[in-house]
Amino acid sequence: MELRYTPDEIQFRDEVRAFFRTAQPAHIRRKMELGQRLAKEDIVDWQRILNAKGWAVPSWPVEWGGTGWGPVKTYIFKEEMQLAPAPDPLGFNVSMVGPVLIAFGSEAQKKHFLPKVANCDYWFCQGFSEPGAGSDLASLRTAAKRDGDHYIVNGQKIWTSRAQHADWMFCLVRTKTEGKPQTGISYLLIDVKTPGLTIRPIYTIDGEHHFNEVFFDNVKVPAENLVGEENKGWSYAKYLLGNERLGIARVGASKYRLQRAKQLAAGVYIGDIPLSETERFREKVAAVEVELKALEITQMRVVANSVHLPPGAPDPTSSILKLKGTELQQATTEILMEVAGPDAMIREQEHLWGTATEPSIGPEWTTTAAADYFYTRASSIYGGSNEIQKNVIAKRILEL
């Protein structure tokens, strides 16, 4: 039993760290440090840099561009990326549609899509939630009717993250209405430029455009874009649950935010004392650090244990990562906003985007704190709300 990294792992960590330091464009790093919103090209550029290095899709099989690192190195890579801080590669591409295509796609689909997914030549968005199907996802109604070589899709998706940037959507559609709802769902790849598909923005409480509504009005989708078998889509979507759990806790990102909060608190004065020297602040931060350390070790346990599990087998402990990880992302954004104090309430969106030409009213670092705080409330809602996670844990782990 050894908590510390082996010399080989340390060497790997240093290599990764050095690469992030030298390869990340300065303007992207600056945005990451300040917590500013990234433009589409920032994410695409960064993923292409990673892809050129062979690191865009570490968890994929080697024949499709994976690195064959194994769980510990993959974990180190993700932690270092968050600590750098560098942007995550596009999750919809790398962690969602990619692994599904690798597991269930046809050879033709793999050959066509996977290289473009890895290089972000195609930007995928996820068409899962609907107005009437949130936590109860299986009740989705967007219908795909077979018509010769095509499916005709009608219906509506909602909460579609970054659909405004997307080239493609992986979409759950209803292909059968009889039987259990789960048994009539198929997994389709849809070109978002197809006539009849309309995207409308939804502005969230941080004032930003993350989410969209997507409407389908007789959208013609070639039948060859069906992934796997018709009516098996639910199992393909579920395949990802409990699988790609590394990094879901975002421990590195929360850690980075606390480093920053502590640094910034040294320059904020409460009377004659820096905020960082007040007992109240120190104890509040220390309490969060303790939970974060516990989560980090829980995550390391999951990583270390995954070596002993068959590939792809979910570890029950991993479900804790999302629950606790999102709580701590929220707690750390809250602390950072409290450090910013009243300046956090000044709304200057150009500073949030990093496009401002005028100096900010308050210190620049305060301009992103509230937006981060507001938007991070979504982390315990998306990807299966934390309440749904608890239902899953109660059923699968506790067998209640």
């Binding site: 039993m1 510390r4 931060v285 989560l295 270390a304 629950l323 608890k390």
Partner: protein, 384 residues
Amino acid sequence: MDFDFSDEQRMLKESVEQLITDRYTFEQRKQYMKEPAGYSRDMWERYAEMGLLGLPFDEKHGGVGGGAVETMIVMEAFGRGLTLEPYLATVVMAGGLINQGGSDAQKNALLPKIADGSLLMAYAHSEAQSRYDLADVATTAKRDADGWILDGEKSFVAHGNCADKLVVSARIAGERKSPEGIALFVVDTKAPGVSRKSYETQDGQRAAQIKLSGVKVSSNDAIGDPGKALSLIRTMADRTLAAVGAEAVGAMGAAHEVTIEYLRTRKQFGVAIGSFQVLQHRAVDILVALEQARSMALYATMMANDPDPAERSKAISAATIQIRRSGKFVGQQVVQLHGGIGMTLEYKIGHYFKRLTAMESLLGDTDHHLAALARAGGLIAAGA
């Protein structure tokens, strides 16, 4: 990075867990509690046979040369059984001080007897006024012709009721709270001037208040360099906290299992109460608290022997904060989920709660460790 046990550690875990399963049912425990010293003499001998009483000591002192991981394994199993024996007091605390700081003569004389089960010891440190400040020692040791004379009163001496010998802290110089001037002495409980008032604790264990009135000890009874004992005490305290953390995780784990079983079998409104979502979510909250505590018990174990005392103490405080918060939550909630039966002395669930509660004030409570960690700058350095 590796969380696997070695083959020997796995065997140790299996054998201790088996022993606790076979010999420490709730009913058996009730019988042990009625024995004269409040624990099972028979179990103590079994621990000796299995090598548990010499676990951290060198082979040349009758031990097996185990480390913090082995102690964690044993303490977690003991936590599951809510064991009553003076293991922590004898082996981890008093034995730990002798093992770390004692002379060869002391080690040769005392450790083999601890290991074979013939010597019980306790650590007499806290005083009525000291609360959790390890440097707050008012008991005095004054130079005598051929040794020292001890005067003072020690509180909360865990298993002081049955100890044959004590390790006692006393001040040879300096103000009451000064980190300098503290010494440790081995004191026989039968020595003239030692008197004790034994009592039961809320969790069914035993302890004593110990009074030292002109107790004579020889120079050879001092552990390490008299006046310089505080760092030794801090090291032992941190290792003890790691051990107690593992015990707490054992108790929480067992309490959690008992509670899940109850949720599956207890029926109300015609169904198992575990089918109610509000209770399912609470059970998940308990699981999360348990797993977070388990992670920190591992962290404490792996940091317990860190060469940098400042890093070690921060890690131990952090682990203690998490484990105690988890322990309080789990203890309270397992009682709540059991309803009325959780309140009865006759049923085991309340006893986990009582033990977890008793552990909270050992070597500093949550607030004490949170303040210490915050003062030390926390776990994450400011940056970026």
